[in-house]
Subunit: 469 residues, 2 copies
């Protein structure tokens, strides 16, 4: 069992050492200068990368010892490797985010205090009318509640990896973890109005108040993001790669807003970046170990954690619709999977593609009909097969016996033929990138067909008095 | 292995059902009335009790399956029973505390909002000069940071129970978990002045600013409370019982303050009660299963979690010195243990008392000298033995061969003779109660010899303008 720890090579050691040194240097300049939080966040992300990389190397054997281990079914040797390494990333991430707490609020620290009261009351006394100097407790509250939600998700994810919670139960774990964030939204913001798309404004007016429906919507986002990443999984490196791509696109969208000087949503998008940069740090470290051929597995913890991070920044940053545009492959995969998930057609225990040991290539895995399917199912499958959206295997009478499992991964292999595992991941990540570009395009160009303004353009936005959605 | 789950008897089922019903009724009155948070807290504590009780019953086999199990060394059959059940309590507690978030702030909810901004800014607009209507974001921040610390402690505690972290490492886990709370203290309160005791005021003045020393002090409290409970353990039910007694005494102290109408520290002590009542709820449920003869073990998770709860309320409630007065047995046990903890005399792997299978009684366990001890150690042990504070076993030449392990539990058995396990627990819990009464007496009566006022008395306190310490 011993010897499963990955040694850190001299090259990596040198790189990590240099990286941490550079990050410490960056932090030093932050402390010397006017405390630019984004630079501090970048430095912490580098440190988080190094810490995660090393810990994943060092903890492999320990994880296997306590039972966090699994066999890679798509390899010839089916070696047992450590699992649930996402928990390491989650813990490192949370620690970095906790230490980072003071930085976004640094600029408010120079307020004179009279010594003895809390800052809020003191500031009120010395307030000179400039809103800038009021300590933004509501932002701090949002930050803390986001951390609480992510930490809850980490605990529940670890519990899931430990106890193998049943599928229909674990679907709702993210909803539990989202409670701190939703409660904080209720206490501190409470805006449940949404802007009505132009074609519907004649019937509904410009804005409509969804009331508790908006909370249901947010809970649905929180449930969807983690679970959709969790079900688009099964080939080496895919969970981490797709998360990295999504995080990168959200970050790009954030940068678009931040680059518009004086944009009212700057704070929300800075907030989003503070959460995403360290996430990219720990995820890249995990990717180095999880990429084909995987030396560790990420576990449900990582999928939940990653999805929850996106849900948190999307909800608290008020860009949940943009977020969904970056989840196009996941949404497709969910819809495509739904006949199996909801039991319309048989769903085997594992739906990951089948490894052909002779060719070394991945082939579509199959769902089997024990009894011949009823005619609507049969017709639907045959139609999909004609459209090239599923592969079916029939007997001599044309009765469907087997069909390729309804996941995006299998579909990819059905369309492009058997291929090596790393090529599958590469293809799907490429698809994610294409969809991301498309999503941002829709958000900032095509959305003008549906909404009266693109809130990225300050001149369109100002004076409307509408919330940034 | 199956069948280790404890069935819920009909009597218990009826009791729990009634309890939850009554609590739901209480919650209903809270929603109907003016939302008294203390009543809501009481109701949630009852629900937390019922939930913990049931989950501990139901999850026994699952916990054993994943390796959370241990043998009771002080029983004839040495049966394997589930361990780390404190994790269940911690998770239930955290969920209840998260759902409870809006209640303490309910009174601020009736503030008119203009719909579209956050409450803080809105309130400023409609503010009429009454401070009461300002949303207390700093209190909310304290609450959230306390939850973050407790949740971090739960994660690290579970990691400890899972991976058996080394003694010298795990000592500092609570310091890591305390970071959110300390950072929040830094951001939001930042008071590092302490009142100087009367005899020293001639030299130091009335107040002294400890600056970063105060943070070191708070971190020390956070390290001490969890670890001191963790090392006063080893007989069935002791960890939970002592925690319940300490929590009850802090709650009594809180009630003393709250009963003084208009006391400036009312909010801090209400805050403390909100954290302690659900803690008492989950702890009593755990106690029902952990009391002699134990059906489950609590794990390090519980000890850490309990200690951290006390540290959190003590630090954020600004009564850390009072807190230490309630930890007298733990402080004594720590000092008494220190020669073994710091390696002055040999320390065996386990120091829990020895179970004599023939008599069924607990006897002091022994540390052994492999080489004869050096003379200062020998003299010290013999002196302690004459004072009745340790039992020693010598050879014919008077060289100390063995000595009773230096824990309060062993000392109790040395003083009062071998006794059954439950009697040991009962005696030590009795001692904890006596010390608690003594501690509160010192705090509110004898402290007047050292400090210029007892801050419980409003007339002594008002006009001094001093922080509540």
């Amino acid at each position: 069992m011993a010897g499963s720890n990955t040694p850190i090579t001299a090259g990596w050691f040198f790189f990590l050492f240099t990286l941490v040194g550079a990050c410490c240097g960056l932090l030093y300049t932050v402390f010397q200068g006017d405390g630019e939080p984004l630079v501090a966040s970048l430095a912490f992300s580098g440190i988080a990368f190094a810490a995660s990389y090393c810990l994943i190397c060092w903890l492999g054997d320990e994880f296997k010892r306590v039972g966090f281990k699994g066999r890679d079914r798509s390899k010839l040797d089916r070696k047992e490797i450590p699992e649930t390494m996402g928990a390491v990333c989650a813990v490192v991430y949370l620690m970095v985010m906790i230490v980072f707490i003071p930085f976004p609020f640094y600029e408010y620290f120079y307020v004179q205090t009279s010594g003895g009261g809390n800052r809020d009351m003191t500031v009120e006394m010395v307030e000179t009318g400039r809103k800038l100097h009021r300590f933004p407790h509501n932002k701090l509250g949002e930050y803390l509640s986001a951390l609480l939600s992510l930490q809850s998700m980490a605990i529940l994810g670890i519990a899931d990896d430990l106890f193998d919670i049943r599928w229909r139960h674990k679907l709702f774990l993210p909803a539990i973890a989202a409670i701190p964030m939703l409660i904080m939204y209720y206490i501190d913001f409470g805006v449940t109005n949404i802007v009505v798309p132009l074609p519907l404004q004649a019937y509904l007016g410009e804005m409509v108040n969804l009331s508790w429906g908006y909370y249901a919507y947010m809970a649905a986002i929180a449930i969807f993001c983690p679970n959709s990443i969790n079900i688009l999984a099964g080939v080496n490196g895919l969970e981490v790669s797709q998360s990295i791509v999504i995080a990168a696109f959200i970050a790009i969208n954030d940068l678009l807003y931040i680059s518009v000087k004086g944009h009212p949503a700057t704070d929300s998008h800075l907030f989003s970046l503070y959460f995403l940069l360290p996430f990219l740090g720990v995820s890249l470290a995990l990717w180095c170990h999880n990429k084909y051929p995987s030396k560790v597995f990420v576990g449900d913890t990582y999928c939940y954690f990653a999805g929850m991070t996106f849900a948190v920044v999307g909800i608290l940053g008020h860009f949940s619709k943009t977020l969904l545009l970056l989840f196009i492959p996941q949404i497709f995969n969910f819809l495509y999977s739904s006949p199996q998930l909801f039991g319309l057609v048989p769903c085997p225990r594992h739906r990951l593609p089948h490894f052909n040991a002779r060719t070394g290539l991945m082939e579509p895995s199959r769902g089997q009909f024990i009894h011949p399917p009823r005619w609507p199912i049969s017709v639907a499958l045959k139609t999909l097969a004609k459209l090239g959206l599923v592969q079916i295997w029939t007997d001599d009478n044309g009765v469907v016996l087997e069909y390729s499992n309804l996941t995006l991964i299998n579909l990819w292999i059905v369309r492009f033929g058997p291929m090596r595992e790393d090529k599958v991941t590469l293809g799907l990540v490429g698809l994610q990138v294409v969809c991301g570009v498309l999503g941002l395009f829709i958000r900032h160009k095509a959305a003008l067909l549906l909404f009266p303004y693109d809130n990225l353009k300050l001149q369109d936005f100002e004076g409307l008095g509408l919330p940034v959605v």
